[in-house]
Symmetry: C2
């Protein structure tokens, strides 16, 4: 709750660990003006969620703590357009809702001011389509392509699909139709967010504050992608699988630039004030770190070995995922991905 | 009525004076199979209609005579997207409906099996937008641009607008949502029609027969455009103005390739078996032509002077427009174009 929090404290919560805010002055003015600004974060209900979803959930937790109302947009229509079977849309939405709620619980969030909204519940309304058409009359193909170029798969490559260019227009209108003040998204969607700020006012709607999460390194390879074997940890993976995946992660001794350290920095140390890395006595015994910086220093100076850090991370992840790996979630997953 | 007409006779009516049919075999099969195939022709309800509208009306008359049901799509939504003021949409639709009906009456058509449909009455339905999105996922920007390139203004020039690329998708879906077997359009829309035939089957709808009218020469300049001063004769222009416009038309003696001759060929001789060109005795006296070919031969051989032909055309046009220039039409026009 925002009770007792000053505007500066709310600002600090919302902006910590973000890549960019457009723009901070507007955000501050908004927090001064409204006690409960509304923020939305959207996700296509396609593949089964990985632990990468912990990043937006942590930021959503920050927004909730800062007194905001949060709407999670389950973009089922976009998922269908992206190739998800129509008959599974309902089931996937149900599964996403279940595991995202559990993840928020796992990180100790009060979800009272959280709401789930399905894209199909408003994106097929007359007025919405009408506005898509309105925006399309003022959006050049060049600008739409630019807006979509980083975040939308169908707007990339040799054969750009028209849907890829319509995507930014719809995402911009989501801000208006969900009645939000702020949008949260990964910084890979920066160009879409900038498009929204530029074009919504041209059809009479206000520009929103855009808050961007950084892109997080994957366990294997550059980014956390389900397509990279070994990179993805599904939120329902069992304890052994989590250990195996973390153990197989990229981690060069003395180098902290990897997915394991990123998870420790952006997840574990956001949630905890202390991390204990357990180690046999013969290798130096247990070490307790009070901040990510302390841990990083010892990793870089090679006082702490990657293997021990991995074991610590796997243990912390399993504590969180224990809350998510329920029988109900497993049942819903089977229905969503038959 | 098609009563008593053979399939060959119906074919002949539908295909006469057309630029192209895709394809004739399908059209023949359709006429064999259905007594009352449904055809649609669409027009944006933007500027006030000129006599160029006589060409599609004549073809619509052919369709009606061949036993078809005809739907005229008043594309009000497209007009709005093209820049027509939203608050005038209803009034412009009313005016278009009035003058198009009068024009059909003027050319002696039974409009019993004719229906007017406004685009906004179905193009904003959920399922329609959903299908626009579906088509957009399989339509490359390249193909959509190509489809729209000739007929859609916003898809031309340096700053192609996204709406210009969505346009062909919507026109393709019109065929499905209007429940038609055939679309009639100008040959300038050929690429959109070809797009419709290629893409509708990809989302489970049938390909339609496409019937194309030729592009007709304007009175001044290459094509009949309202933007060319002197080229446009408004259907409510009075007798004197019609005479003035026809008199000012391009017509080089001995050359039949001009808008005056086109109107005689595609309008007057379609409606009549005989045209009398009146001439003072000293210039050779009145001449009666039983076919366009006869007239053309005498124009080319300079036996008939352009001025006399112009007078004859203006007279014929005025006979037709007398049916359209009603008090009601004038009143509706004032409301539609204040």
């Amino acid at each position: 709750m925002a009770k007792g929090l000053s505007v500066d404290e709310r600002m600090a919560l919302i902006t910590r660990n973000t890549a960019e805010v457009i723009d901070e002055e507007e955000l501050k003015a908004l927090l001064n003006e409204k006690k409960e600004p509304v923020v939305y974060w959207g996700t296509m209900t396609t593949g089964s969620p990985s632990i990468a979803y912990l990043f937006p959930m942590l930021k959503i937790a920050d927004f909730l703590r800062a007194g905001c109302k949060v709407k999670i947009l389950l973009a089922d229509l976009h998922a269908a357009l992206d190739g998800s079977p129509w008959d599974l849309l309902e089931k996937r939405s149900a599964y996403y809702k279940e595991v995202l709620t559990s993840m928020l619980k796992a990180i100790g969030t009060d979800v009272k001011r959280l709401e789930f909204v399905k894209g199909s519940s408003f994106q097929l309304d007359k007025q919405f389509f009408n506005d898509v058409l309105k925006l399309s009359t003022i959006s050049s193909v060049r600008d739409s392509t630019k807006a979509a170029s980083e975040a939308v798969k169908t707007a990339q490559g040799d054969s750009v699909k028209l849907s890829g260019l319509v995507y930014p227009l719809m995402q911009a209108l989501d801000e208006e139709y969900l009645g939000v003040d702020i949008q949260l998204a990964g910084v890979d969607q920066r160009k879409i967010l900038v498009y929204a700020r530029e074009y919504l006012p041209q059809i009479g709607y206000k520009a929103r504050v855009e808050v961007m999460n950084p892109m997080i390194r994957g366990l294997v390879g550059e980014q956390m992608r389900s397509s990279v074997e070994g990179s993805k940890i599904d939120v329902l993976d069992d304890q052994k699988m989590v250990e195996k995946r973390v153990n197989g992660a990229d981690f060069v001794e003395g180098d902290s630039d990897n997915g394991v350290m990123a998870l420790l920095k952006y997840v574990v140390f956001v949630l905890k004030d202390e991390l204990v890395v357990k180690r046999p006595e013969k290798f130096g015994g247990d070490v307790s770190y009070a901040s990510y910086g302390e841990l990083e220093a010892e990793v870089v100076s090679k006082k702490m070995h990657p293997l021990d850090v991995k074991v610590a991370l796997a243990r912390e992840l399993n504590v969180l995922l224990d809350v998510v790996r329920t029988e109900k979630a497993k049942k819903l997953k089977k229905l969503a991905y038959p």
